[in-house]
Subunit: 254 residues, 2 copies
Amino acid sequence: MSGRVFVIGTGPGSPDQMTPEARSAVERSAEFFGYRPYLDRLSLRPDQKRNISDNREELHRAKAGLDRAAAGANVCIVSGGDPGVFAMAAAVCEAIDHGPQAWKDVDLVVVPGITAMLAVAARIGAPLGHDFCAISLSDNLKPWDIIENRLKLTAQAGLVIALYNPISKARPWQLAQAFDILRAILPAETPVIFGRAAGRKDERITVSRLRDAEASTADMATCVIIGSAETRIIHRLGRGDLVYTPRFIAAATR
Amino acid sequence: MSGRVFVIGTGPGSPDQMTPEARSAVERSAEFFGYRPYLDRLSLRPDQKRNISDNREELHRAKAGLDRAAAGANVCIVSGGDPGVFAMAAAVCEAIDHGPQAWKDVDLVVVPGITAMLAVAARIGAPLGHDFCAISLSDNLKPWDIIENRLKLTAQAGLVIALYNPISKARPWQLAQAFDILRAILPAETPVIFGRAAGRKDERITVSRLRDAEASTADMATCVIIGSAETRIIHRLGRGDLVYTPRFIAAATR
């Protein structure tokens, strides 16, 4: 009889932001598959087995987990944040789609989590308070000209833009180019939030304006949120700035 | 001395999807402000005071909560889902932005939650597995022609589209018109997910194709997710269909 595959999200890292549903999935699983920093967020029992794989080996990890579940094991595939946002749930579905019939028979349970942009937004106010999008800036996943086109159209549409995978050693120039593309469309004063490791000890959240946003402020653990023309900054004496996007757009402000 | 305002999200409704961080904020608050169905999700002590207001009175509710916090109370303003996505965090920021100095002095803590589109996506696979956007279909919030323009540009951009506030008694025709706009741009076979009350007892998740998507399938509690041209449906014998958007776009598939 087939086992079950849980695909869970740990949230951004703080144990307080991992749901009871995800915690329960962890307790009910015998074998764990994931990138080491995400598995390290879990407190596992001695009888629970860890299978660590590299961050880039998502499809391989999905197949390994499905194989074990098809053999009867209860398996937990672990993502940071939400497993459905640029993470393991899509890799597992891809593996099932193109894999053997036995993988379609596995009981698949995807457990949602707090994705990075929601955690970053909460720490700074409500920048995602109106229409927004989430775009991966990784041109390992799609050609750069598709990314450019998406940035242009979503900025023209007036959406707030959350950028995942903004920068890495292998992709050093893409974020600066994204800012240049957006500067040609959005006001120079548009707020830009660099949200690093939200809710973790090494959290660093900074607010800039699009005019002087520096790509080097971001690293691999950063989610970058670029406001719309409506997004506002509130200065507070003795407290950090708040950034929010109003709920309403009046006809006249178009 | 000012009190604190927590702005929390309960998640979609299942207690298992509410984070420990949100639960802790509830325990530490004396006065609660919110729409009745969201407050009903909390188990409050007899000493904790409920202030119920109508769903449409967001700014009034925000001001009432800030007033009590400025007077020294610890206050919890309650949203369903995530407070930063079409919910109370933006209303509270708006009130602070335009309100008295005392409201800027209040200690504001926004606590993220599982927003509807993530919960719906998890129940059906991984439809948000690549770039996506969240758009409110309410033309109480912005003129309809802005909504039309956003639908056209995001569909042209190839983003998966999650529609919040798709339909209500006062807004009966907008969702059908949105489908018509998208039919002119996206393939007829594009998957459409109607995700109602994800994770609750009255959950109902159905998958259709854009060609025959019926607006009447949705109600106020539904989040509608429209795939991109890449989004795929996996049929499984004896199990429900899965819907996912692959992580990669090859250059040739543009």
